[in-house]
Homo-oligomer: 249 residues x 2
Amino acid sequence: MKSDRDRSVRLLWEPPAEPTRGPKAALSQSRVVEAAIKVADAEGVEALTMRRVAETLGFTTMSLYRHVPGKSELLDLMVDAVWGETEHTPRGPWRAGLEFFARQMWAMYRAHPWMLQLTASRRMPGPQAMTRQDAAYAVVSELGLATEEIVAVATAVSHFVVGVGRTMADRVQAERETGVSEEDWWNGREALWEHFTPDRLPMMTHIWNSGGFERMLDDFEFGLARVLDGLAVFIETEDRPLVRPQTCL
Amino acid sequence: MKSDRDRSVRLLWEPPAEPTRGPKAALSQSRVVEAAIKVADAEGVEALTMRRVAETLGFTTMSLYRHVPGKSELLDLMVDAVWGETEHTPRGPWRAGLEFFARQMWAMYRAHPWMLQLTASRRMPGPQAMTRQDAAYAVVSELGLATEEIVAVATAVSHFVVGVGRTMADRVQAERETGVSEEDWWNGREALWEHFTPDRLPMMTHIWNSGGFERMLDDFEFGLARVLDGLAVFIETEDRPLVRPQTCL
DNA sequence: ACACCGGGTGTACGTTGTACACGGTTCTAG
DNA sequence: CTAGAACCGTGTACAACGTACACCCGGTGT
């Protein structure tokens, strides 16, 4: 139990040592991870099967287990590898920095929507993800905030991006699964629209009739600007009330 | 294909008609949904099996399929039933209203963290969820905003709550799976902490050493206040730039 | 020369969602 | 009042999943 998890730590944080004995490996951990990412990108997280990954590599299913302890650990490795594709937030003014960080995350989630669908129960943090986090903290660290406030500010941005990202990820997956674009799909749901009557959903029908759903704003751009505005208000305030957690769930 | 989805619509939006023939049903759709919610609450989304639900009800697995077309539709019904437990946002000033809406969502996700783990590819929206949304829009509708701005404002709040919610949901699931509390678990990861060195992760170690991770602020409370502040800035601005989506993904 | 370590394979098991056929029950049509 | 249709619950069966285990064989150290 404990050693299982410590093995995961080594897997992520320590470069795999080359074995001195035995035959040359035709496969490697990074090739497995790479192939898995490619499968998830192209066919979605539900198609990410050990069998499918092995197939794209031209090996048998069980050969993967020589390079990766199991599927859960493979997911850990995939996540950290994708974080590795993002750029570190450069030092500079806090607002530009946090915006950069948010855009990096957003680009990452758009390229790999499955990142947001891994149920991620206690996923082990990897070095790539951690250094990106560290750079984000650094950019907020010169404002004279308490360290717990630094964390809170950076985390607020992350939470927002994760929220928009999930909605986006669901849509992408749905489009792949059904092969129908978002718009076409909803247009095909007359049976649903029949129930959108003014007495049941007054605002929805009003927004619909005035075309508000056709001219939608960009959720990410709009929300990000608002979040940063809100953080600016906080940062520029003189005496900030500290909001401590009341319940420890 | 098409009729499948229309059946889902009927399932959610039209009350199930009592059959006139055949034996009295010992089971019912609502009992199945109720039992499924109870299983997911108590044992997590990964334990939500058709077999497990049937077992708690004291029936065979296949009997469920008389009341629910399949697992995917059961999930639709569960989601909408949970939305039904929340209160409608009452009319009133926008900020109080959006805060109320956010707190309702937050309470919902805390009570049923699995809501955030359903991969939710194109989940059919149900009436309960939609009326809650409608009430949230209503509270923002008297500020003279364009209808697309009303949507954007309410959606920004939702996205944030979803973001914090996911982090919380992952933690809850992990605690159930391992039976170890969040704090204990991380404390047991010495193998991980060894890699948190000042040269690799300067900010992290600094925050750690100054106790910033022990005095963490409440992510939900802190972030919500910032988001609402940011929206206030937007709402009180005279001429607002409209941010249109550039890319349609 | 030989033991051994490690890479790749093949088979097999338990668990999942659910298709399908069946037998019993109750209302409706004639 | 009876035949038949509609419907409920059950049991068996199947494909796909992650992966434990036993196996063979190639290359390196002693």
